[in-house]
Amino acid sequence: MKRLIALIGLVFILAMPVSALEVESPQAPSDAQDLLPGEVTSFGEDLWELFKRAVKKAEPQISQAAGLCLSLTAISMLAGILHSTPGKPVAAVELAGVIAAALLLLNQTQSLITCASQTVVELSEYGKLLLPVMTTALAAQGGITGSTALYMGTAVFDSVLSSLISKLLIPLVYIFLALAVASKGTGQEMLKKLQGFVKWLVSWGLKIIMYIFTGYISITGVVAGASDEAAVKATKLTMSGMIPMVGGILSDASEAVVVGAGMAKNAVGVYGMLAILAIWISPFIRIGISYLILKLTAVICQCFGVKQIAGVVENFSEAMGMLLAMTGACCMLLLISMICFMKGMG
């Protein structure tokens, strides 16, 4: 099998006399295309441009999320009026409040979940386009076995990760939300435990794949030094998991990307990395805004004393965190392999 692949690599080299600069990197999908700068200048500056444009694009999301926050506050204010009186009707009021809150939240959450799964698909598709290009480029510079090993590893793990996410993890997120509503509405402990289990399952699934991927990269010994650093960072990223560590995720992600910037001597690689980031960043900001605002809303609702409603809002924000982790994992996977490619190309 290895020989066959090496042969194919050879054919590539013979068929296309290339230097790294002549290889065109594939076009990013149209949404991401808007965010990309016209010319690839310096990696750091381009990254900043990308970020600014993505934030601007996400502005309508902010007002939507704020609207949701206010309406949830209204509901919890009403439910909170009653909170001082004990007794049977109060439980029914809380149930009604939880259902109303869930209705409001589900509408918005659903569009975000679809957005996240689309992003995963887009990243995977773009990866399929980008990887052969990078492989060719690397092989052209002589790193045949390295490039094929890297290509195979990334392709396999990327498809595994994206199919895992779309077939298993996203339905798990829905189940998590359903359990959250049910457990807060009826107050059953059992449902709460199930809910915690689902969350753990999602986090574990992501971590396992990232661990194996980074382990594979270091074992094939394709590149040393910087890739291990990036790999370590990715592992830390998924390790820190989802919720309060969004700040950690951002800082780690930026570190990993900066490591790549150090190697960005290669226009194709730089464009590829920017494109990946462009695909990822806009959904990330949308979901991130929702996550933050929902967390804030949970705190506000808590002030009115209705624990059930605040709990439901909190759970929805956790689900947002899960979405962030999923898209982040996909993005990191592709970025790491880009970094490895570029390091190999020197």
């Binding site: 206010l70 506050t73 209204a74 029914a92 109303a100 829905y174």
Partner: protein, 131 residues
């Protein structure tokens, strides 16, 4: 604010009067309690008015569907009234009546939240259909 003090004073007076009338049988004290509870609730509603206006303001800003908000409002109103009724019944020693009022109000609240539950069900079906 004056209102609050008047109400508080009124409640205390009522307690004393009700105690002194207790010897003649429980009806009069109970009537006094009932009247005072009603009046306190009226004062409570007066204080609540601006709060509910604020909630409507939130609704206008945020664009939440007004059905949800009105359902929640009705539910809160019903729960308040039934709480008072149940407490007065218990005071009279008729705890059976009191609890039954509670059960009735739970039923009414659930009935009121039916449209909410229907909407939720539809939304879930839509999601599952797409997934």
């Amino acid at each position: 604010m004056e209102r609050y003090f008047t109400v508080l004073g009124g409640v205390l007076i009522a307690v004393i009067l009700s105690l002194s009338l207790k010897k003649q049988g429980k009806e009069f004290p109970l009537l006094i309690t009932l009247v005072v509870c009603v009046m306190v609730m009226v004062a409570f509603s007066a204080f609540l008015d601006p709060v509910i206006d604020f909630v409507y303001l939130l609704k206008n800003i945020s664009g939440i569907k007004s059905e949800y908000l009105s359902v929640m409002l009705k539910i809160v109103g019903i729960a308040l009234l039934s709480e008072i009724a149940a407490m007065v019944c218990q005071d009279a020693g008729e705890s059976a009546l009191g609890k039954t009022v509670g059960v009735l109000s739970t039923g009414v609240i659930l009935w009121l939240s039916l449209p909410l539950m229907n909407d939720l069900l539809e939304l879930v079906q839509k999601i599952v259909g797409e997934a």
